[in-house]
Amino acid sequence: MTDVRIGVMFPSTFNLNADVANALVLQRRLELSGVETHIVPITGESSVDDAVVDALVIGSPSSSILLSPDLPRDGIASFVSTAFTSEIPILAISNGFHLLGQISNEDGETNAGLNLIPVTTTFGRTQHVTIGAQLETQWGRVVGVENHNARVELSSGDAFGRIVRGVGNAAGGIDGLCWGTLWATHLHGPVLALNPTLADALCARILDRRGLTFSRGDGLDHLDELANRARTHLEKSTAS
């Protein structure tokens, strides 16, 4: 029987705004579609065996954790590099996204970023909060909540989405990055919970890598109906 493992990077600390739950969304959707799925925490104590995953979710830590000299960057970089090489689908949210590239702040370039992706993030004073941020993406309209003080510049790769409402990367009218097997965005929500089409696309990607086809289970219709009601509610929000 197929057994899928969803890795979650530092689930207790990379979870400032509940982005670890994107892994729960994947698990639930796959299980309702007949695929046994396990969530595997990836931490500093993880063994090599734990590193065998079919997907990786990188949530968003607070700034102090992102910039902390105590963050085990070498281990994270090694793991994520292996994931890229193995073409493992990766979903990274906000500071989890920023961590993977270069990071600067008001004082200049820092050593906080892993330099694994063609992205430079600069943190500024202005916090961008948009309840009901909206993007146009290859998966249709994607809705969520953004909350960051970053300006993100891409030196290659494609945008995750084009801004309809919100700030996104605060550069170029786009949000996030699609690069190799990485999908990165600033949207919380969690983004997969609120956007079933996106979630299904990622489920399909995960199974495709294993030579399998994602076939939606009946139980997903109810989840999607709830998600669509929640999305509509957020889309009507004027708060930013």
Binding site: A18, A21, S62, S64, L226
Partner: protein
Amino acid sequence: MNSLAFFIAKTVGALATFVASRVGNGSVIGGRLALVIFPGFIRHARRWLDFPIVFVMGSNGKTTTAKYLVHLAEESGERVLTNAAGSNMKTGIAALIIGSWRRIVRGHFSLGVFEIDEAYAASLGADVNPEFAIITNVQIDQIYRLFEPERVAAMFRDTIPFVTRHIVVNGNDRLLVDAVTQQRPLAEVSFFGIDSRSSIDPETLGLFAAQRFDQRPESSVSIDSDADGYRVTSARERFPMTVPTAGMHFALNGAAALAMARVALDAGVAFRTHVERLGNATPAFGRGESIFSGSARFELVLFKNRPSLQLNLDAYQEPADSIVLAFDEYSQDPSWLFAVDYSSVPRVDAVSGEKADFLELALAYAGVEVGVSNPDIVSVVSSLDESFRNRPEHSVHRLFLDYDQMMATRSYFGLKMGASA
């Protein structure tokens, strides 16, 4: 000139409050207007607030800690000026001053206990220079407004220099301990927390940065628990402790209040007496208060953010005939609902509030069965009330409510803001 501006601001504020009270709930409009007319209103008023003031601050537990402290103070003979729960921003403090002005100038009050919102703490600290402060904790809360817990810790750190006599701080909270250490306050500092010999894991307290509570010098107040209940220790004396509402987080609120009572109240009252009196306190409204309707008992449990919902869900383990969760529009970013562990909840009979859809979605992904979804909490509660109140057997209905939903529910049962059930 300031005296004239103050007089005008106070007069206009009082008039606005009077008019608003006749047409609806305008509890802070007077304060808002007063501050518009005279931004230095609170600072100017301080000269008449000729009594010690305690700021009660923190991500969670402010209202309960303030209520416990007010109870202990009044039991000790103090006449306390205190703000109603929720009116903890500058406008609320200004409104409190306006509404209590006659009694203030007549010297009625001997102590102030002010619950203070973190975003306004430093500004109010500069205006008031409180003699005392309690800082309960730093947790993940309202990040759409406060952004990150570290920034909240910085807000408290920036308030510390304005406290003149004594600060009581949660010793299990690394961000707060660091803030106090970095700031080197002129005021004395003491700590409360979970006794480090206790088996209770500080990581279960909902703190953003938890640490074990080192046994501080004799000025500390620490608690532990066993099968018989809570115990509180101070100056090597240990007593059984009861608090009005179930849950370790409420016990810690009690510890914070006791720690402040030790230093701010009549030194002639023994610590043991404060501990005994704490057991007679009533819960703050919405914090585990019970409302009886015929044979039905409605437990109102307020939640305001991720840690408070988690701690309250975990604290209420007794079976209930109905479980309701309600989430309102005021909570702008609903993402955090997905970070809560719902495994202690067997089922949810109804989700309600304007953002009921988000609750239902989070519960669905958590595998929790949901009965009905009805955004109108009064409709949900009245339906339960009508169904159960006349039954011969007793029933318990547990309502986990966001703030506006709780106010609407209390209003349905005829309870005004601040009044106890």
